[in-house]
Structures are given as C-alpha cells and as structure tokens.
C-alpha cells in the first residue's frame, strides 16, 4: 500500500457509493470491520484500508488488490460497522468494477469461478456442479487441485453426472439478458 497517497478526487467515491447504495463517506476508520474479518490474515489491504483508499480516490490501488477477490461475503463487517456501512456490498461493487474495467486482477480465479457458475445457471436454470467445475478447471488450467475431493463426492453420490432437470430455461436466458442490460445502465 502506498502510505503517502494524497487525496486525488471524489469521482471514485461517488461511483462506489452510487453502485453499492451505501455511504462509504461515513467511515470513521474505527477498523472494526477489519478486526472481525476472517480472511484479514490473507488480505493485502484490510477492509478499513479499502474504505479509506476509496475516500482518497485510490481507484487503481483498490481495484487491483487481492483482497476484493478473497472476501468470503461473510457479512461480519456489514453487521458490525457502527456507521451502518454495508462493507460486504462495497466488496461486491469493487469486484464488479474491476471485472468491468477488464483489469488484469490478481483474483482471476474468483472471476473465472463466478463466470463458470453463472453460465451453468444460464444454461440449466440450476447448477450442474460437475459441468461447472470442469469448465472452471479448464479456464484456470488447473486439473489436479482437489481431484481426490471430487472422487469422494462421487462415491458419496454428492456429485451428479447428469445435468439437473432444467426448469424454465427460456425464461432464465431472458432474465440473464435483461439483467446484463440493466447493469450496463446502472
């Protein structure tokens, strides 16, 4: 983290507040969110530092950090923030912005997982785990991690080899298309 970062401008703060719908400006730097974050140890920037960088206009620092992809969406920060800031949703907004700007982010695997998951929902209306995991592993060129878990799951009938009965696939496809449009207009 650049310790000497000076205030740049307010555009990034305004953008994050508009997209997340939560008052990042209200942060008083109490660090309660960071103190309770289960992933804090692995993060390059803690959530309270991210809030401060947003105030300062540190767009690049924030959108390229690893933390936003490590956040497990556990909602501890949101529940505890004394200023009522929905910190977990800010993390979502930052992931969305990083992906939108096509930044070469350190959390590529996270984004790849989201895409593999959602394309399975788009195709079947529900998650086809085996198909989704295979697609994810192809996109990451990672075939060996947790292969033994997949075997265990198959043995326990916890991974189906058949795609789930698709519900209203035509309508689901429309939902995805319209949701993409709505996101572009936000």
């Amino acid at each position: 983290m650049n310790d000497t970062l000076e205030w740049r401008d307010i555009a990034f703060l305004r953008e994050v507040e508009r997209l997340s719908g939560t008052p990042v400006s209200a942060c008083v730097q109490c660090h309660k969110c960071s103190a309770g974050c289960p992933i804090g140890r692995e993060m390059d920037l803690l959530s309270s530092q991210i809030m401060r960088l947003i105030h300062l206009g540190g767009e690049e620092e924030v959108l390229k950090c690893r933390s936003i992809w490590l956040c497990a969406s556990c909602e501890a920060c949101t529940s505890r923030c004394p200023m009522g800031i929905d910190v977990a949703t800010v993390m979502d907004t930052l992931r969305i912005l990083a992906a939108r700007r096509k930044l070469r982010v350190p959390g590529k695997r996270g984004e790849t997982f989201y895409r593999s998951f959602l394309s399975s929902v788009r195709r079947h209306g529900r998650i086809f785990e085996l198909g989704m995991l295979t697609a994810y592993k192809f996109r990451c060129f990672d075939f060996l991690t947790d292969l033994d878990k997949a075997r265990k799951l198959l043995a326990k009938r916890k991974l189906s080899v058949l795609a789930p009965r698709s519900a209203n696939v035509a309508q689901v496809t429309e939902i995805f298309q319209r949701a993409d449009e709505e996101e572009r207009n936000r």
Binding site: C74, F117, F176, A179
Partner: protein, 298 residues
C-alpha cells in the same frame, strides 16, 4: 403448518443428505412441505459479486412462483435463505430495485412473500415443546458444538430470527432432544464458503481453527445447517489434519440428521452414510445406534 419448499442447488447434489433428512424430519413433525415447481438457482455469491441486478432477479423468479402457492417459503440452505431474504429486503427498501426486478422478470413483485429458514421454523413456528413431545430416542448426552456460520444470523437487518453474534436456537432444539450443546466461541465464524473452489488453502486454515476449537471445547460432533459449512469441514477434514496437525475426527452432521435420530428415524431416512467422516462409531458409543443390528435404532 404448510411451507413452499425451496431446496436450492446444493440440496440436489452435494447436500442431498440435508434434503433427505429435512424431508424426513418435517414429515415426522407434520410440517407439510410443497416443493416450489420450477424453482431456479438463487445465484449465490457468483451473482451478487458480479451482477447486482441478477442477484435480485434470480430469487424473485422463484419467489413469484411461491407467491402463487400462498404459503411462506422455507429454505434449508443458509446461502439460498440469505439470497432470498436479501432480494426481499432490496425490493421493499429501494423502489429502483423493485422496478428493475419487474423489468427483468416481467412481473411486478412487492417483496411480501415470507422466507424462513428451517431452524426458524423448528425453533419458532413449531417450538421446542412440540419437538420434545415427539422425541422417542433421546440423544444420550451426545456433546455437540452448534455451528451457524455466517449467513443464518447476519446481517441482522435481513435475517433476524436469532441474535446475530450469539444465536442459540440450534442449542435449544438439541437440548430438548437429549444432546448436550457445548458452549464455544466460534459458532458464527466463517468457514470460507465458496473460497473452497478458488482458494482452498484459506478454507483449510479456517477449518482447522473451527475443528480444533470445537474439539478443545469438548465437542464430539458439530451440528450445521448450511451445505457449505458441512462440506468445508467434513470433506476437507483429512487435508486439514495433514496441513496443520491432527485433530481427532469430528463428524459434521446436519441439525436435521441429529434431530431425526431423536425422533426415531432410520439411518437411511436421514442419509447418515453420506458424510465423509463416519458418524456411526460415535452414535454407537452413545447407544443411539446399535451396530449389531446393522446400525438400526437401539
């Protein structure tokens, strides 16, 4: 009592034992479940972390189907429960979200379909007294750590059926069925959720903290009510031991599996063979199951 049941994707695959035990327990307690026809995936973390409009629209699609059934919705997966509640919260608190969801799904929705988690239904709708009346095989003082994870109690504006930092409803249910619910400090800590796919190392570290704390607090098994909590602690237990040093094996069972045993349901009805860490020896030790009869209820 009747509920529109939203199983969600996990209960159709990695958590089929949660579905089976939920259906068995609800039938035994005369809770009528009607699965929502053509429900679709709630979108889970991949939706809210990549497309905020989709994260509301996907749950709304299923909630609209439940509305026509005229019953409150019951979910068992903590993540589905959280996403359905969050969609309702956004629709009722932000008119822009409401009209956006209407444009996407093509139908107006006011966020009024009630969504409950099975723990809420058991502890509050049915109540511990009613559960007590149905117990035929008390759990013989089995020491259980109740593990809620993140989303059953957080954030309080959205879920709110128990205390957000120190929930107790699972303990209350297990106590009336004869288990000893031990106290421990990590009941709402995070298991790492879907990081198990992208960053399994982080999930192993969190899992180790949880398992070793449960063990030191005296737990013989851990009760969960979320498919991700279950698989992160159960399936990865062997790996966790390899990375951080052995913790004695701790079976990770769904609350419905433990409750079902006390109601006299069978190993098969509760899918007790499904978890990776075998629970049978522990259940036999407490006289809950009889190994001589092939695991039948004693």
């Amino acid at each position: 009592m009747k509920y529109a049941f939203f199983p969600g994707c996990s209960l159709e695959s990695t958590a089929w034992d949660f579905k089976k035990s939920t259906l068995s327990v609800c039938a035994a307690l005369r809770l009528e479940l009607h699965e929502i026809a053509d429900w679709i995936c709630c979108g889970s973390t991949p939706a809210h972390a990549s497309n905020a409009s989709l994260a509301v629209a996907l749950p709304v699609f299923s909630l609209l189907r439940a509305r026509d059934m005229g019953m409150p919705v019951m979910a068992a997966c903590a993540s589905c429960y959280s996403r359905l509640r969050t969609a309702n919260y956004k629709i009722t608190h932000d008119p822009a979200e409401c009209s956006r969801a209407e444009r996407i799904t093509g139908m107006p929705y006011d966020g009024s379909v009630q969504v409950q988690h099975i723990l809420d239904v058991l502890a509050n709708d049915l109540g511990t007294e009613e559960i007590r009346r149905n117990v035929s095989h008390p759990l013989g003082g089995l020491k259980v750590a109740c593990y809620y994870g993140c989303l059953l109690s957080r954030p309080p504006e959205i879920v709110a059926f128990d205390d957000p930092e120190y929930p107790t409803c699972m303990e209350e249910v297990l106590r009336v069925v004869g288990a000893e619910a031990i106290d421990w400090p990590y009941k709402t800590e995070c298991c790492g959720a879907s990081l198990s796919i992208t960053d399994p190392d982080v999930v192993r570290r969190l899992g180790y903290r949880l398992l070793s704390m449960a063990h030191r607090a005296g737990a013989e098994c851990i009760a969960v009510a979320c498919p991700l909590c279950q698989s992160n602690l159960d399936l990865r237990q062997a790996d966790i031991g390899k990375s951080f040093g052995e913790v004695p094996e701790i079976p990770i069972l769904y609350i419905t599996q433990l409750l079902g045993l006390a109601l006299g349901l069978s190993v098969d009805e509760l899918a007790l063979e499904a978890p990776a860490v075998d629970a049978m020896p522990l259940l036999a030790k407490h006289g809950i199951l009889n190994p001589a009869e092939g695991g039948k209820r004693s």
